[in-house]
């Protein structure tokens, strides 16, 4: 047997099969840890420092193309843009003066009723670097990261409404999960009648859906859904989606409600990160009733 084995002049280390098993086990272990426990975020962000120059280089052609496009915009289009923006500004100015009056009034009323004040929303602008490579995920990466004080859980919006939420932060990048990601949930409220519900992303299309809406619930085509704010993460009153289709089938307990996002979730390059998470009141101290509850749970 020994004669048939090829003699090795040089030590080449372990055989390919051994290496295969070693690295496959190592990869599977990493997969398991990352999928279940997410312990590896610091390693990921350290390694991302190595990869990010390459990524920036890869986005260069697109940026150059855009800059070339900016350079060659005609004067006429600029003049037209300017005109329409001026008109928009005048309309907005009228509305904003009204808003100020309403804000003042609201503040006074809240004072009278001894309700907590609503804080101003602080924002910072960010630009989308690129979309996630996996076509089955709805995520984008933006150019602000831990160095710009971006934190996990912050809400990202554009000029029209909610776009998504920050789910991972690198030193110079942050990952935004769009509201159209499969099973991504946003607590919302129907603006017309205040009905509270939860909006889910569909994942494969740019649609959103309201699950668990009873067939009899008061919801109509064209209803605007705004964030309800009771989750403590999304600030209240920001538009999220519009109802476009309702299917009420008496055979099912729930109606099928299809919505489309108000914001240009797949369109714009520039986004706003809402930097101030709303401050929540302190959790009330646990009551003795809670102890009894936990006892009954243990019995089960």
């Amino acid at each position: 047997m020994d004669n048939t084995q090829s003699f090795q002049f040089f030590n080449r280390g372990p055989s390919p099969a051994v290496r295969l098993v070693f690295f496959v086990v190592l990869s599977l272990l990493l997969l398991f840890i990352d999928a279940r426990y997410r312990y590896l975020e610091s390693t990921r962000s350290a390694l991302s420092m190595l990869v990010s120059p390459l990524q920036r280089l890869a986005t260069m052609p697109g940026v150059l193309w855009q800059q070339a496009g900016d350079f060659f915009t005609t004067q006429r289009s600029l003049v037209e843009d300017n005109k329409s923006l001026h008109q928009q500004h005048e309309r907005d100015a009228a509305q904003s003066s009204q808003l100020q009056a309403l804000q003042q009034e609201n503040q006074q009323l809240r004072n009278l009723l001894a309700l907590p004040q609503r804080g101003e929303l602080a924002m910072q602008a960010a630009e989308i670097m690129y979309a996630e490579r996996d076509i089955f995920k709805r995520k984008v990466l933006i150019d602000k990261g831990a160095d710009a004080n971006v934190r996990i859980g912050q809400v990202v919006m554009d000029d029209a409404g909610i776009v998504g939420q920050i789910t991972r932060v690198y030193p110079r990048l942050a990952e935004v999960t769009l509201i159209t990601e499969k099973d991504h949930a946003v607590p919302v409220q129907v603006l017309r009648n205040g009905l509270r519900t939860i909006l889910f992303g569909a994942g494969d299309t740019s649609q959103l859906s309201l699950r668990y809406m009873p067939v009899s619930s008061d919801i109509q085509n064209g209803d605007l859904l705004v964030t309800s704010g009771i989750d403590g993460i999304y600030p209240p009153g920001i538009p999220v989606a519009k109802v476009v289709k309702i299917e009420r089938d008496a055979a099912y307990p729930f109606a099928r409600v299809i919505c489309l996002p108000v914001a240009g979730v797949d369109k714009h390059r520039h986004l706003l990160i809402l930097s101030g998470l709303p401050r929540l009141p302190e959790r009330p101290a646990e009551e003795p009733a809670a102890a009894q509850n936990s006892k009954t749970k243990q019995k089960k």
Partner: protein
């Protein structure tokens, strides 16, 4: 070992480390271009192709360990689960290292079928990981496998040219 007829009549030239590192970095860059929509679905995996080329042509220089490390970098670049690309490229490198004698006996056209098998294994890993994590299988992943296989011949010719260019400069 039987006498083998290499795919190209040239004697195998030495390859500099710079070329290997440069080609892998370039492949990572190409994978990182802002692909979108249908193009993203059809995007070939340049990193897998380059690694497979080096594993079959220089199995002592580029092997399973290096492929695994490149896979980890690809995981970070893609923001995918840690170990997904690493696992795929490990299997790819193993296939390349095991088949490198056999591949040399075929011409480029015949190599393509063998390469398709190895790449299909790689893409199977992506699909299986996706299935395990998200609970459903996605078949469009395998479109990228087809486009990657189609790139094998042009890529091989290009690398052959790059290696000969180095030699002629040296003389």
């Amino acid at each position: 070992m039987p006498y083998s007829v290499p795919a190209n009549p040239e004697i195998q030239r030495p390859v500099s480390n710079t070329l290997i590192v440069f080609s892998v970095l370039l492949a990572l860059l190409l994978n990182g271009l802002p692909w979108e929509g249908v193009w993203l679905m059809l995007r070939p995996d340049f990193v897998a192709l380059v690694l497979l080329y080096w594993c079959t042509h220089k199995p002592l220089r580029v092997g399973i360990g290096l492929s695994w490390a490149v896979g980890i970098l690809a995981d970070v670049a893609d923001a995918s689960l840690f170990g997904q690309h690493a696992l795929a490229y490990t299997l790819l490198a193993f296939g390349g290292v095991m088949l490198h004698h056999r591949l040399k006996m075929f011409d480029l056209r015949q190599q393509t079928t063998q390469v398709f098998g190895i790449l299909a294994l790689t893409y199977m890993v992506y699909a299986l990981v996706h299935w395990q994590v998200n609970g459903y299988m996605v078949w469009p992943y395998f479109l990228g496998c087809l486009t990657s296989t189609l790139l094998w011949v042009p890529l091989s010719i290009m690398f052959q040219a790059a290696r000969q260019m180095r030699v002629s400069r040296d003389h």
